[in-house]
Amino acid sequence: MTALLDPIDGTPAAPVRQISTALPTKDTSVRPVPRATLGGLPLENHFLTWGARFAALAMAWIITQRLLPWHGPGWFVVVFALCNVLLLAVGTAVFDTNVAVSDRVAQWTVSSAAVFVYVALGSVIVYVLHKGWPALHHANFFTHDMSGVSSKDPLTQGGITHAIAGSAVQLGIASAISLPLGIGTAVFMNEVGGTFAKIVRTVVEAMTALPDILAGLFIYTVWIIAFGLPKSGLAAALAISVMMLPIIARTSDVVLRVVPGTLREASLALGASRWATVWNVVLPTARSGLGTALILAIARGVGETAPVLITSGNSPFLHLNPGSGVMSSLPLFIFDGARSGEDLQVQRAFGAAAVLLVLVVALFATARYLARPASNKPSLLRRLRHALAGSLRSVRSTVARRTPSVTAEEAS
């Protein structure tokens, strides 16, 4: 400071030359100023957030229980939310500008919409599991079918084996058809290319969003009207595979597109044929992505109701031959149960829906696990093994430490 100011005064300061270096001494007279935190909100904002919440709870209670005849939890939540935003706006306006008020209100709107969405999702899962539990906790629900069981029989009789088996058979056939065709199409779009591949890609992408009932209609017109074949599990499987095919093709297309071109070029440069390149290099590289594609398609196909409704009917008994006769499946069983109007059938439908829901969630979780980005963190198995080895080592070392003392005692 002084060095800069001195020339302005006009009196050139005499250069101060010190012979020795002075070490900086700690000035204890100045108290350190606390550093301002950059990430968090000021204390009064936290106070406002929580204060508005508590005050809104109280106000909602008074309004719905004491002032207005709006009873019920639904009204309470609505009034609570409105009170909350009102208090937030007023509270912010007290010590801040209008811009801050609108920021607060915007944040509240966005967050409460998100909360609403996730609560709705949670309500689907919890409600279905809750209503399905009376049927689910009987073992016969999984081991029996509905043959000879009337809709008024108690839940200790009958089950959904036939629906599960039907779904499994139909999905097995549908996967066997749509997996090779879907991956083949993806290989065609990526490895062969050309104008025709572009047309195929456009059509396949348009078909991913096809209404599911139209797939059923298509198989119905071709299989049942044109070929004159009866409704069967096979027709249902074909309808499901028409739904699954664009999904597998499109997802695998995306997966194959990210296989590094250098790998292909290296393989071709080594003299491999294109077939060998695809089979030994491209497909193995994308293996987990292709697995994800299949699982996502199965998760979609297992819940397809409308196409199955048209191409196959519901039957109450276990039927494993897809070639002849109508074959039940999980979505059909749920649909029929829900329409029957019988309480016990509705409970069975909820039980089947819970099974379907768990199945879909499990498939979905598997797909996400397969598609997860590669991380540097060692895998769970390796971490477990590491922890096990570590504890073994510590046990061994304690044993080793104890052993000499034991021998010392014995020696004494």
């Binding site: 811009v99 801050a100 709705a120 025709f196 209404p211 599911d212 298509f218 819940g303």
Partner: protein, 389 residues
């Protein structure tokens, strides 16, 4: 000493070296490979593209039998052989619109919450939850809608009717308001495209049209029942297009949300930080940077959701009570969509009725194809970042 190679004058007739002809056409085993996969691609094209061709081909007898009145007739009366899809088409559009009105704000808000407001640690969980929501089968949503949502939604319908019935316009007043709305719309469009006026002035005609439309909204609430009766007839309020729309909204919301979220998350960090550094609040930053950047994604995602909502079958079949009347009274019992018509009538249909259903399916096919293609174009354009100069 080095000897330079000299051209031999004796063999000067040798032709100059030309580059070998390089061909990308595969030979041998590679040709077999290319052709095999071309056949696979062609077969998949035939299967998926064949749907439209088959449905179109099957609808020829329908049009020959019923003529063009098939599109204007609203009844579906098998006994008198009077079939038409005017009512089901309007029902389809109505249910899809209800679903969009509910799903659109929720999808945009959830996408903004995930990309901007959610704690970073929770982000991937929230994304997974949204994707899971899209994977839940429609029959499960239908079950949820029938047994959990329907009773509550019926009470909501009753409440809305009680509240808005006094605001209902009748007779001449209604005609005048409709006229005002139409005139405002035409004036606004004329100013925008005819006189090329942009900016604030445009708010006036469009604002008048919007106000007229809002004052017409209570028309939607009419239900043929007395809402203020001591014991209101709740059956008049169940199984309505509104309830089906609520459930369909739950199904299409996650799809729109995931498209919108992906576009939002591609917003350049620098622009967002620039807005914040200039003193914008978070909501100001979202309004001025994120939303304009993602406009294409928002439109495209919403249109994808519309395409899905138009074709949704099971929820409508399970919830709505079939009714073949063109109406806009969304809270009243009874409606029908093309997909649910097909699903519910297919078991009993015979002969010409089957091909009438197939024609209805073809109309649905064309409708969803147009909406989805437009959506795909809008989304792919928005991804290139063309919207932000």
């Amino acid at each position: 000493m080095t000897t330079l190679p000299l051209s031999d004058p004796a063999s000067g007739a040798q032709p100059p070296a030309t580059p070998r002809r390089i061909s990308r056409t595969p030979t041998g085993g590679d040709a077999v490979f290319a052709h095999t996969f071309r056949v696979i691609g062609a077969s998949v094209l035939a299967v998926t593209g064949g749907i439209g061709v088959f449905l179109a081909y099957q609808s020829v007898p329908t049009l020959r039998h019923y003529g063009l009145s098939f599109f204007t007739e609203h009844q579906w009366d098998i006994g008198h052989d009077v079939l038409g899809i005017a009512a089901v088409l309007s029902g389809t559009v109505l249910i899809a619109l209800v679903a969009l009105v509910i799903a659109f704000p929720l999808a945009v808000a959830t996408a903004i919450y995930i990309t901007e407001y959610a704690p970073p640690r929770m982000r991937s969980t929230l994304v997974a939850a949204t994707d899971l929501m899209a994977a839940i089968p429609s029959v499960v949503y239908g079950l949820w809608g029938v047994f959990l949502v329907m009773p509550h939604a019926a009470f909501f319908s009753l409440f809305v009717q009680r509240t808005f019935l006094p605001l209902l316009l009748h007779g001449t007043a209604r005609t005048i308001v409709i006229l005002v709305m139409v005139v405002g719309l035409i004036a606004g469009l004329g100013m925008r495209f005819g006189m090329r006026i942009t900016g604030r002035l445009l708010w006036i005609p469009f604002g008048i049209a919007a106000a007229a439309a809002v004052s017409l909204l209570p028309l939607l609430t009419v239900v043929d029942a007395d809402p203020n009766a001591a014991v209101p007839d709740m059956t008049r309020y169940t199984k309505s297009a509104f309830i089906a729309g609520v459930v369909v909204a739950m199904m299409v919301m996650p799809m729109a949300c995931s498209v919108i979220r992906q576009v939002f998350s591609q917003t350049p960090e620098g622009e967002k930080e620039g807005a914040l550094a200039l003193g914008a609040t978070k909501s100001g930053m979202v309004r001025t940077v994120v939303l304009p950047f993602g406009r294409g994604g928002v439109i495209g995602g919403t249109m994808l959701a519309l395409g899905r909502a138009l074709g949704e079958t099971m929820a409508v079949v399970m919830i709505v009570s079939p009714d073949f009347v063109i109406k806009g009274r969304i809270f009243e019992i009874g409606s029908q969509s093309v997909a649910s018509l097909i699903a519910s009538q297919f078991a009993e249909a015979q002969g010409i009725q089957v091909s009438a259903l197939l024609t209805a399916g073809f109309v649905l096919f064309v409708l969803t194809l147009i909406v989805n293609t437009l959506a795909a174009i809008v989304v792919s354009r928005s991804r290139s970042g063309a919207d932000t100069a």
